[in-house]
C-alpha cells in the first residue's frame, strides 16, 4: 500500500471516527454535572473505614482486586522489558568513560537525591491521608536514584544499585500484595477484604485498616520495577554494543 493511499484511508477513517466521537460527546452527561452515584457511595464507604484519601480507599480497598490486575500488568511489562533488552551473544559491554560534569550540577544532584528519595517515601507513607500513594511515590523514589547517573556517571549508579536486590524486592512486594489478599480470605470474609485490622483514628498514619500495607507493597513494587526498567535501558544505551566485525 503506497503512502498516498494510506493517507487517504487514514483521513477517511479519521473523519468517520471524529463524527462518531463528536456525536457521543454531545450525548454525554454535561461536564460538571451533579449526578455521581458511584462517587458518592465511594466517599461514604471510605469515611466509614476511616480512610481520609478516598482515592486510596478506592484503589486499595474497594477496588483492591482491580489494582492487583494493574500490578500484574506492571510486573508483566517489566518482565517483558528485561527479556527483550538482555545482552545477546554478539554483544559485549564496554566501560563508558566518565563524563565531566560541571561542579554545580554535580553538587545539585547529590543534594537533591536524598531530598527526592525522602519525598518519595513521604508520598507513599501519606497515601491514605493526602494526595499520593504507592504508584506516585514509588516512581519519585526510583527516579531520585537516577540523579546519580545524571549528576555523576553510570559507574556510580551501578555501585549503589545491586540489581539482584531490586529483583527480589519486586517479587517480594508483588507477593506481599497477594499474601495480604489471602490473609483477608483466611482471616475474615473475602480475598483482599479490608476487615482484618482495626480502622484506627481518622486522618492518622495508621488509619484505614489494610490500606497502608497494600499501599506500601505497591510503592515498593513500583519503585523496584522502575529501577529495573531504567537499568535495562541504561545498559543498552550506555554500555552494551555490538561485537566488532560481526
Amino acid at each position: 500500500m503506497s503512502r498516498r493511499v494510506r493517507l487517504w484511508l487514514v483521513l477517511a477513517a479519521g473523519t468517520g471516527l471524529a463524527v462518531l466521537l463528536v456525536a457521543a460527546c454531545l450525548d454525554l452527561p454535561n461536564f460538571g454535572g451533579d449526578r455521581h452515584p458511584y462517587g458518592d457511595r465511594a466517599v461514604r464507604a471510605s469515611i466509614a473505614r476511616h480512610t481520609a484519601n478516598v482515592i486510596s480507599s478506592v484503589n486499595f480497598d474497594q477496588r483492591a482486586f482491580d489494582t492487583l490486575g494493574e500490578m500484574t500488568i506492571l510486573f508483566g511489562a517489566v518482565l517483558g522489558c528485561v527479556m527483550l533488552l538482555r545482552q545477546t551473544r554478539d554483544e559485549h559491554r564496554a566501560r563508558p568513560r566518565p563524563a565531566e560534569v560541571a561542579p554545580p550540577v554535580r553538587r545539585y544532584a547529590l543534594l537533591v537525591l536524598p531530598v527526592a528519595l525522602v519525598t518519595g517515601i513521604y508520598v507513599v507513607a501519606h497515601g491514605q491521608l493526602s494526595p499520593g500513594g504507592g504508584f506516585q511515590g514509588g516512581v519519585v523514589a526510583a527516579t531520585a536514584l537516577h540523579l546519580l547517573y545524571l549528576g555523576a556517571d553510570y559507574g556510580a549508579l551501578e555501585r549503589i544499585r545491586p540489581l539482584g536486590v531490586y529483583e527480589v524486592g519486586d517479587a517480594l512486594a508483588a507477593s506481599a500484595y497477594v499474601v495480604l489478599g489471602l490473609a483477608g480470605l483466611l482471616g475474615s470474609t473475602a480475598f483482599l477484604a479490608n476487615s482484618l485490622l482495626p480502622y484506627g483514628t481518622f486522618n492518622t498514619l495508621s488509619s484505614g485498616g489494610t490500606v497502608p500495607l497494600l499501599n506500601a507493597a505497591i510503592g515498593m513494587e513500583v519503585a523496584c520495577a522502575v529501577v529495573l526498567l531504567l537499568a535495562r535501558f541504561l545498559d543498552q544505551a550506555v554500555e552494551i554494543e555490538k561485537e566488532n566485525g560481526e
Binding site: N53, G132, V139, V226, L230, F233, A237, E241
Partner: protein
C-alpha cells in the same frame, strides 16, 4: 468566569498534544512530551484530581523523557556503528 482556568488548561493540553504529534524528530518530540506531562498535571489539578496530577508529574516530567531519550541514543548509536562498519 470561574471556568476560565479550566478552559485555559484544556486549550493548553489540546495545543501541546497537537505540537507533540507534529514534531517528527524523536528527541524534539520528547521535549514536547515532557511539557505535555506538566500541562496535563496542571489540567488534573484544576479538575480537582491531585492524586492523578501527582502520578502524571512523577511519570511525565522525568521518567518518560529518560526512557525516550535512552532509546533515541541507542538507536542512533546503532545507526552510527552500522555506518562505521560499511
Amino acid at each position: 468566569m470561574a471556568d476560565a482556568v479550566i478552559v485555559v488548561a484544556l486549550l493548553l493540553v489540546a495545543a501541546t498534544a497537537t505540537v507533540a504529534v507534529a514534531t517528527r524528530d524523536p528527541a524534539r518530540q520528547a521535549l514536547v512530551l515532557s511539557v505535555l506531562g506538566v500541562v496535563l498535571a496542571v489540567l488534573f489539578t484544576v479538575f480537582q484530581a491531585p492524586d492523578v496530577g501527582l502520578s502524571q508529574l512523577a511519570v511525565g516530567s522525568a521518567l518518560t523523557p529518560l526512557l525516550l531519550m535512552l532509546t533515541v541514543r541507542k538507536v542512533r548509536r546503532r545507526g552510527r556503528d552500522e555506518e562505521h562498519e560499511r
